[in-house]
Symmetry: C2
Subunit: 302 residues, 2 copies
């Protein structure tokens, strides 16, 4: 149960706070969080049923929130503060006192937690804790979380699919580090890896969350059958910069790009219906790309 | 409630893992943890009353342990593993399943948590979280902890007492960075600071611990009236190296030494008897010094 180090390719965002760091280069991801704010307010207001679950959501005990794939800040601070505020408002609306909030910031064990901790805004209305380890594993005890959040992180797979690196496989991707969406076997290899990873992610979060808890995911996605990846901003970027990225991938070993999976990927959730109920799955066009908002209600935990 | 940054002098142990780091220079502190092992086993076995408090210590919920002033490892790993094992044994002895353990590693926000996280042994039987912030403040939500541990950290005060730096005060310490125990006003200035700090420490931990929880402290100390500080190993070291340390303190601003307070310091605990019950206060001679073991039972929390 120590931080998982057996994830084959763990590439946290660039630490520190210099001009090349994630801290200084994540305004796009901040935009996603801003775009999500209203949706999260609505999700918590409508689906977090505090009133009928005051044993689980007892305001005299901490309300715990996890941010999975938080990186080094500052985006995670905005996301967590937004959630704290809307949950506090929800308690107020049912005339209950505000609980103390406990925020668990999760990312790879090699994430720069020092920078993350030093950047937490002084006026934050929560107790902070860092949780090292891949979110493709259990990182928190059973039933220790009331709300889980994951923004723009789940498109990073746990590893590059083996088949696309195998010259004898029909899924061989000719050394490329992304796909455009037209190569059937390559797409399937990525999709299969995504499915395996999501299965681990969802099973882990289901155990960590309390019954009645919420899981809110924002990730890149495409409306089913309407839009090709190559038509999005990111797709165009990959097409134009593809060969340069490949050069970088050769010379800088920690750099790699995993392409998006379409919303159809989520069909396998049905297999897990006894744990999950997908409340909402919507898309928002954002700066030439599409962002998927996924709200999952934990019906009960094992 | 963000990590406290208003502690006037926060000097975490030296980070990294090079030859000058705390990781490579803390075998004395490891000795204290080894010496404490049997006492902790006895304390948990005798005083952690799981059987009559199975709501508070419900094995289907996480059992949370905090290490306050954990530094960068490796000593904290040994201490936490020892505690996890003895608590698991205690559950077994009353024929209850083993709970999942949640360990909160606490130290200053500038502590090197990156090194700490990367060093957690792969076979650790707990989920790990880092908690940034001075232990002279609240760092965890109310009632979120079952057992708190603090080893060889509480002799570091939150600040150098003002009076000893004031040339017009009878407690002026003539620029010295330690005391030998003979200067009445200097000793009182340190003692008063220690008392204020301990008051904050104990009040904070009392709120963070559940009713029935345990607080285990190991710190340097002296048997009342029997031994002068100057007769201990550390006292001799200060006497011999005093002027050199003073030079270092002038040129290296993060370096300072706070001397020990004697066991008599604890009289003020009595004022807090409505929260605490001091179960045990004992001394062990260890490598020419004395280590105080203090076991505090949280009767109830506010």
């Amino acid at each position: 149960m120590a931080p998982t180090t057996n994830i084959k390719e763990a590439h946290p965002m660039k630490g520190g706070d210099d001009p090349n760091s994630y801290v200084q280069n994540s305004s796009y991801q901040k935009g996603v969080i801003d775009a999500a704010k209203e949706i999260i307010i609505e999700a918590v207001t409508q689906h977090l049923d505090l009133e009928n679950n005051l044993t689980t959501f007892d305001p005299s005990k901490p309300f715990s929130i996890g941010d999975f794939g938080c990186s080094t800040g500052p985006n995670t601070y905005f996301a967590m503060q937004n959630i704290v505020e809307v949950v506090a408002e929800k308690y107020k609306s049912i005339k209950q006192p505000k609980p103390e909030f406990h925020v668990f910031f999760n990312d790879h064990v090699n994430n720069d937690f020092n920078i993350l901790f030093r950047g937490i805004p002084p006026n934050s209305d929560y107790f902070a804790a860092g949780v090292p380890g891949s979110f493709y594993s259990r990182v928190l005890p059973k039933g220790s979380l009331h709300l889980a959040h994951c923004s723009y992180a789940l498109h990073w797979l746990s590893q590059v699919p083996k088949e696309i690196q195998d010259k004898n496989s029909p899924a061989y991707n000719k050394g490329k580090i992304h796909y455009t969406g037209t190569e059937k076997y390559v797409v399937k290899a990525y999709f299969d890896q995504f499915q395996r990873d999501m299965d681990v992610f969802l099973t882990s979060r289901a155990l960590e969350l309390v019954g009645g808890g919420l899981l809110i995911i924002q990730m890149p996605g495409l409306p089913s059958g309407e839009t090709m990846f190559t038509m999005t901003g990111a797709g165009l970027l990959h097409a134009i910069l593809g060969s340069s990225l490949m050069e970088l991938a050769k010379s800088v070993s920690f750099f790699y790009i995993i392409s998006f999976s379409s919303s159809r990927s989520f069909f396998f959730f049905v297999m897990l219906f006894f744990i999950y109920h997908i409340v909402e799955c919507s898309y928002v066009a954002f700066r030439g790309n599409f962002v998927t908002f996924l709200l999952i209600h934990i019906i009960f935990t094992q």
